[in-house]
Symmetry: C2
């Protein structure tokens, strides 16, 4: 059997593919290479158990052709659906971006799973489904779910469509609500942005917002480990888990200082105003991971440690390019 990863050339997809192959699984991938990059697959492309097709998943006919090729011979038995727009501000400017890349890719995935008889989906959801619930402890059962970005809205829409599909025949589903995830190959995110800015101007680092935004950060290697742990141990038909660090998170100020320390220690940091980096940004939240702890998984790194490691890796990545 083969496991299909959509968005495989993206940040999380590339890491998941490498881990699954290391664990002896056969991996098929689809990506439209619009945000992901083919070089992210360099570590896995020549693996005997790896196959890959380029297709736009929001175009169901293109998706069906690609899946048909990958399915032939060694059938796909499970889909890890990671493809989505990762550009939250772009979706705030134009809701069509997340409709197409974040929601319709999910809708088409479910439709084709039914056509091809694929029984299991694992889905990269997001803490953005919670919207801005202030200081409330965000357990998986928190409500109301009123997202403040189209990205969050279309992740929630995807969860809802998957939930309905489980009721009408899909065998099992796993929803992972990601926090901020850091590591390489980095394609976006606050560390990536700050490292690039500092490379362009080593004297001064401009930061969006006042630096007080506090969020949990998980390293991508831990994220992949947690998802595979949940896949193995959660036993409901529909399983939904917050995945994140079990600390209070780290501030943007901490990240900025860590980037400066590792990349250009003499640089001056200039903060903006307000506690939102952009419209649709959630300034802070208290993410509960007690459901995941109870299942038996805990991260090894704190948010701060994950950030420090990711700054180092991203700085090296950017120095190579």
């Amino acid at each position: 059997m083969r496991i299909l990863i959509t968005g495989i050339a993206g940040f999380v997809g590339a890491n998941l593919a490498a881990t699954l192959l290391r664990r002896g699984k056969a991996v098929a991938g689809i990506d439209d290479l619009s945000r992901g990059a083919i070089r992210n697959l360099d570590p896995v492309r020549r693996h005997a158990n790896f196959t890959f097709e380029v297709a736009d998943l929001s175009d169901i006919d293109a998706y069906r052709r690609a899946l048909g090729k990958l399915h032939a011979g060694n059938p796909v038995k499970e889909v890890w659906h990671l493809a989505a727009s990762s550009d939250i501000p772009a979706g705030v400017r134009d809701p069509g971006v997340d409709l197409r890349d974040t929601f319709m890719t999910t809708f088409n995935t479910l439709a084709l799973m039914k056509e091809f008889g694929i029984p299991v989906i694992a889905f990269a959801s997001s803490s953005a489904v919670y919207g801005d619930l202030g200081e409330r402890r965000l357990t998986e059962d928190a409500g109301p779910l009123l997202p403040i970005s189209n990205y969050g809205a279309m992740k929630l829409a995807s969860e809802a469509a998957i939930s309905a599909a489980v009721e009408s025949g899909l065998e099992r589903a796993f929803l992972f609500r990601f926090p901020n995830v850091v590591g390489v190959p980095a394609t976006h995110g606050v560390i990536f942005d700050l490292v690039r800015k500092l490379a362009a101007n080593p004297e001064k680092l401009d930061v969006l917002g006042d630096g007080t935004q506090r969020k949990g950060y998980l390293h991508v290697e831990e994220l992949v480990d947690a998802m595979l742990f949940i896949r193995e141990h959660a036993d409901q038909r529909l399983n939904y888990f917050n995945v994140g660090p079990d600390d209070e998170g780290a501030t943007v100020r901490f990240i900025a200082e860590e980037v400066v320390r590792q990349v250009s220690p003499a640089a001056r940091i200039a903060y903006g105003r307000g506690d939102k980096g952009w419209p649709g940004d959630v300034p802070r939240f208290a993410y509960s991971t007690s459901k995941l702890s109870a299942l038996g998984w805990r991260p090894k790194m704190s948010s701060g440690q994950a950030i420090s490691m990711a700054v180092k890796q991203i700085a090296e990545q950017e120095a190579r390019h």
Copy 2:
């Protein structure tokens, strides 16, 4: 200023239009007449303050043309978005139905409100967004939101898209989570189905499920009154309310017996098995309307009274056709 009602030729739309006109408002309507019927607008069509266009709201170009005509001269300042598929089983069979008719109509409404500068939306959401939370008390802040029908999923997706739109510029929004609504002009629903069945066979009434499903029922006249009350009194930018009766609801058995009593007293009732009428049906739930009570609105009728009145009205409606 004009108020636009989408899905105006449907059950709730036709009632809302009549009430708004009675209260001195100018009303514009759009409907594709796929489920609604033009005869539902007979009571309002000749009113001086009423205008109407036929258009498929899932087709944004057709929708834009219709809205452009209605907007000209007397601008639309508020949209009551009621258009949706009302056929839950159809959406379970084919998720494309609710994608197109329940979600894309909302997505397009938001896009065109931005284009035309319309600042306020009122949206007919549904208790189906809650999925099946068992016996838990469903306040508006209940979670998780894991719908078990595509109808519920696409209503939740619509709420999410509206919530994100409020964050990025939409002035105000009102989300009404409907319970089962009864009354005339009836086009679907359990009473309508049972009255039609009994008209076809006055000896025997076959009921889906074992009759123990218990839900809250609100008469459409009370629903319209409650929505307009919320529109007037709720003061957040994003307002979300359960709208329903404040009792424990009524069983399908009660409805079946009431239909038999009023339509064909000698008929025998034959129940099916299980507590779900169809896949995607939520067997029972405890709907809290305390937020609405706290705002100052309470229904005059119980679920049972609403059903009795609706059975009478629907039997008369069907006798006329």
